[in-house]
């Protein structure tokens, strides 16, 4: 790693910008601007800085479609949008996946298009915190704000989450090292517990690391719940943890003045999936009999929760919403992108502000090789290697989706295109 001198040659600074990387949404970034270009950024973490100081080699600049040799070829916007609209208008089971790294205005246009065409709308929650959303429906949502954590929390527990790597400023700015109104000494006033099979970077700077065994989350949380409810543990070792340690941990959690559990994908990606989160939520509810506890999922993209809230507001379901019958429908394991792709159902796939090529398992992605894929993104990524139409997006995603919607509507009105089912008001 070579030494990088600080950037001192700039015209002016734009202060207090919001970071568009992770769910922390840090709002204290300073951009250094020279000749109208951002040349450096201050206060951002490594991830935020690399998102802002992007790789221009791979920036998508022009709309492209595949030619007959399978090579991407630059075309004008009209041609590319017409081609994409044609794919969507001729499909019977389109899936619009992504939305988490774009604006809520764009989602609004997306829902209008999805409702018109009868598509499935899904976002990245389907491969990350989907089980958390299901668990919230099962067990409740004892949540608090990060401001409360900063000012009040004295016990911070991370479970299945490596905040130092995936939310690098979380510990520094919101949870652990920061000073708060009731926690004037910052880190010294707080106890940090990390529960993770991996001795992660977060575990390395915690006071206590509980390395339960792989897939042992469910048993481990149940054991803590049993202790909290005054039961005795009969086994000596539970999920790889000696029972004395579990008693000690339960006691420590009970004695917290204000405790917070942050949980990540370590819980949602293992075998018990949403049942892990169910039990974690119930543990927090049990802890509230002794002290004040809350929990927060560590969400990935800056607007991933935005999409879930927006969809829940618009149509009643947070993700995996199927409009194929004309009204919103949601069924776990049926209307979610991975299940649809594994069953080879979709015949058109639109990726917007997401990268299934990089993050979907092979078994699901194989189907993308059989169907037309439309990509709206800012960078040339693994999904571009599977895309038939590439539309370079940015803050004008909203315009692209609105244009697509208008073109699809026009195509559907022509008689030679597959007709949309329209209920006849006189039929009754």
């Amino acid at each position: 790693m070579t030494y990088e001198p600080p950037v001192t040659d700039y015209d002016y600074i734009v202060e207090n910008c919001t970071c568009a990387f992770c769910g922390c949404n840090c709002d204290d970034l300073d951009y250094l601007v020279k000749n109208g270009h951002v040349v450096a950024v201050r206060h951002a973490c490594r991830l935020g800085a690399s998102k802002i100081m992007e790789d221009m080699d791979q920036r998508l600049i022009v709309p492209m479609i595949r030619d007959e040799n399978g090579e991407l070829m630059e075309v004008d916007w009209d041609t590319a949008l017409d081609k994409a609209a044609e794919y969507i208008a001729n499909s019977v089971r389109p899936v619009f996946y992504g939305w988490s790294e774009t604006s809520t205005e764009c989602m609004k246009e997306g829902v209008a298009l999805g409702e018109y065409i009868g598509a499935v709308l899904d976002n990245q929650a389907t491969i990350c915190h989907g089980p958390s959303l299901q668990a919230v429906q099962n067990a409740g949502y004892p949540i608090q704000t990060l401001g409360e954590v900063q000012n009040r929390a004295d016990v911070i527990a991370y479970s299945g989450s490596n905040a130092m790597n995936s939310h690098p400023r979380h510990m520094a700015r919101y949870a652990v090292f920061c000073r708060g109104y009731f926690r004037q000494r910052g880190r010294f006033d707080r106890t940090v517990i990390t529960m993770d099979p991996k001795f992660s970077d977060t575990a390395k700077c915690s006071d206590k690391w509980i390395g339960f065994e792989q897939n042992g989350d469910y048993g481990f949380y149940n054991a803590i719940r049993a202790v909290l409810r005054g039961k005795e543990l009969y086994q000596d070792v539970i999920s790889g943890i000696p029972k004395e340690d579990i008693y000690e941990l339960a006691e420590e959690m009970k004695n917290a003045e204000f405790g917070v559990l942050f949980f990540g994908l370590g819980l949602t990606h293992t075998l018990s999936k949403q049942r892990n989160i169910d039990i974690a939520i119930k543990m927090v509810q049990d802890l509230n009999r002794f002290s004040k506890w809350g929990l927060t999922p560590m969400r990935g993209h800056f607007n991933v929760n935005g999409f879930n809230i927006f969809m829940a507001f618009e149509c009643g379901f947070a993700f995996g919403v199927d409009y194929c019958r004309g009204y919103p429908r949601y069924m776990l394991g049926e209307t979610n992108t991975i299940d649809l792709l594994t069953r080879k159902e979709p015949d058109c796939f639109m990726v917007i502000a997401a990268d299934p090529g990089a993050h979907f398992p092979n078994g699901a992605n194989q189907h993308l090789a059989n169907i037309p894929v439309i990509q709206i993104d800012i960078h040339w990524g693994p999904s571009t290697e599977l895309a038939d139409v590439v539309l370079p997006g940015s803050f004008d995603d909203e315009w692209i989706v609105r244009e697509l919607k208008e073109r699809v509507m026009k195509l559907r009105e022509e008689p030679n295109v597959a007709p949309k089912y329209v209920p006849n008001p006189n039929a009754l």
């Binding site: 790693m1 990088e4 001198p5 950037v7 040659d9 270009h37 450096a40 950024v41 490594r46 991830l47 800085a49 690399s50 100081m53 221009m56 080699d57 791979q58 600049i61 492209m64 595949r66 030619d67 399978g70 090579e71 991407l72 070829m73 630059e74 389907t126 491969i127 989907g130 089980p131 299901q134 130092m164 790597n165 995936s166 991996k198 001795f199 992660s200 970077d201 792989q214 897939n215 990606h269 993700f319 995996g320 776990l332 394991g333 979610n336 991975i338 299940d339 594994t342 990268d355 990089a358 993050h359 979907f360 398992p361 092979n362 992605n365 993308l368 960078h379 040339w380 990524g381 693994p382």
Partner: protein, 189 residues
């Protein structure tokens, strides 16, 4: 003009010399995937075609004792196989060691090739806790574009894995017919 730079060719790993004889040919392990900061930074910058992404994402982090059993050192190549596929990746000493019997590959196209797509009707594929085998190999780790071509074969006529694997590399820059960003954006790098 001086731009701030976050490029890093390879993740920083413990500089440990492995002195095992390599008595095991095929090592049975548990595979975990997830993100780390090197993979995240590279992906978010958009440098997915580059050598950097290959090293950040296509690397199997192992316990040094497991590496001694296989007789491999930092940045040698290994073949990882599961029920769902196989892929060639680099191997390196894990920063989170010891975790004997468990290997970690950052999420990305390389890990996708071998993770389970089973959602058990819960929408979320099983990315963690998959049984795998690791063995030493002479095959090279493919760059992202070559890997996508090798796995999905969407725009090649060949269906044979070995033929596609040995085709000319697509390189570290986007391959398309059209104007490049230098021609479109006024800049003074």
């Amino acid at each position: 003009m001086h731009y701030a730079n976050t490029y890093l060719e390879k993740p920083v790993v413990p500089d440990v010399k492995i002195t095992g004889e390599g008595t095991t040919d095929v090592l049975k392990c548990m595979l975990n995937t997830g993100s780390d900061i090197y993979q995240g930074a590279c992906k978010k910058r958009g440098s997915t075609l580059k050598e950097e992404y290959k090293n950040a994402s296509g690397t199997c982090y192992m316990d040094p004792r497991d590496m001694a059993k296989l007789g491999v050192n930092n940045w040698d190549t290994v073949l990882v196989k599961t029920d769902f596929g196989e892929v060639v990746v680099n191997c390196a000493v894990s920063r989170d060691a010891p975790h004997e019997g468990t290997v970690f590959i950052c999420k990305g196209p390389w890990a996708n090739t071998i993770v389970s797509h089973d959602t058990y009707c819960c929408s979320d594929p099983t990315y963690k806790g998959i049984r795998c085998t690791v063995e030493k190999t002479d095959r090279k780790v493919l760059l992202m574009a070559d890997l996508m071509r090798w796995v999905y074969k969407k725009y090649v006529d060949e269906t044979d894995d070995d033929t596609v694997e040995n085709m000319d590399s697509l390189g570290e820059l986007p391959v398309y017919k059209g104007r490049k960003w230098e021609e479109l954006i006024d800049h003074d790098l």
